[in-house]
């Protein structure tokens, strides 16, 4: 089990490691939506440790299990033309290996 690097309230940035167009760049199955890559948010909670879905998709064990976080983003930062309230939020589950310090 990989230890958690972040805690509730920490600022984190989602990696842009696998941009669009790199169809054959491994891993081929990721659970980090494209729209949230490169965005900065705040850890809402640590959900626990779970097998890496990118490895599970390759029929591997996905172990050691990775910390999974719920990360909270401000909608008006994710979408520059966001129409709604400035306080609106978006919360996304992201595995630790996709997160870095902003």
């Amino acid at each position: 089990m990989i230890p958690a690097k972040f805690k509730t309230g920490d600022r984190v940035k989602v990696s842009k490691a696998y941009p669009v167009g790199h169809v054959r760049t491994p891993p081929e199955h990721v659970r980090t939506p494209y729209y949230i890559r490169g965005q900065v948010g705040e850890v809402e909670r640590l959900c626990g440790n779970f097998p890496n879905p990118e490895k599970l998709a390759e029929m591997l064990s996905g172990l050691p299990a990775l910390p999974l976080y719920r990360v909270r983003f401000r909608q008006n930062e994710v979408w520059p033309d966001y129409r709604g309230s400035d306080s609106d939020l978006l919360e996304v589950e992201i595995f630790q290996h996709w997160l870095e310090k902003p």
């Binding site: 659970r31 980090t32 939506p33 729209y35 949230i36 959900c47 626990g48 779970f50 879905p53 999974l68 719920r70 909608q75 994710v78 979408w79 966001y82 129409r83 709604g84 309230s85 306080s87 609106d88 939020l89 978006l90 919360e91 996304v92 589950e93 992201i94 595995f95």
Partner: protein, 201 residues
Amino acid sequence: MKDQGNYRPLSYFQLMEISLRELLVEKGIVTDAQVDAEVEDMRRRGPERGARVVAKAWTDPDYKKRLLSNGTVACEELGLDIPALKLVVVENTPEVHNAIVCTLCSCYPRMLLGIPPDWYKSRNYRSRMVREPRAVLAEFGLVIGKEIQVRVHDSTADMRYLVLPMRPRGTEGWSEDRLAGLVTRDSMIGVALPDSPGKTA
């Protein structure tokens, strides 16, 4: 009447499903009876399971606390068997409205709400719900005032989500069973409010 039936060739995924199932049965990994039983189980589970959880939380403040801190354990407490479901319950308040989406596929708390509606799996809902949630909610007939914060939860990994809607006014003294009758599937996804008490009176 036209001289045609409604026969259509199987789609790619239908064909894949049948091929895979037949192979699994042929190789003795599962039996037809096991597949049928699983499908039957899935059909039997419906949103009334989630409604029970919500009604309990409305009538028992201690239960609500437990539900919000660990949804999985709180469901098991009610005898609701939810294997492998890591449940996060998000509470609607006068200041915050929550809604659930899975942009990557169609993750859904099936153990509590049954089979997801087709619109939940549609590209339209999945792509727009994170991008313009207020416009999508308005299309469901739910207009959220600007003074209320909209929180969208993208169910991207191992958690599953359930919205705990606000208890409707005018239901003071109601039993859990009666309250559960007001809790709709859509209100637990966050695209609607529970029915109003007048509707079932």
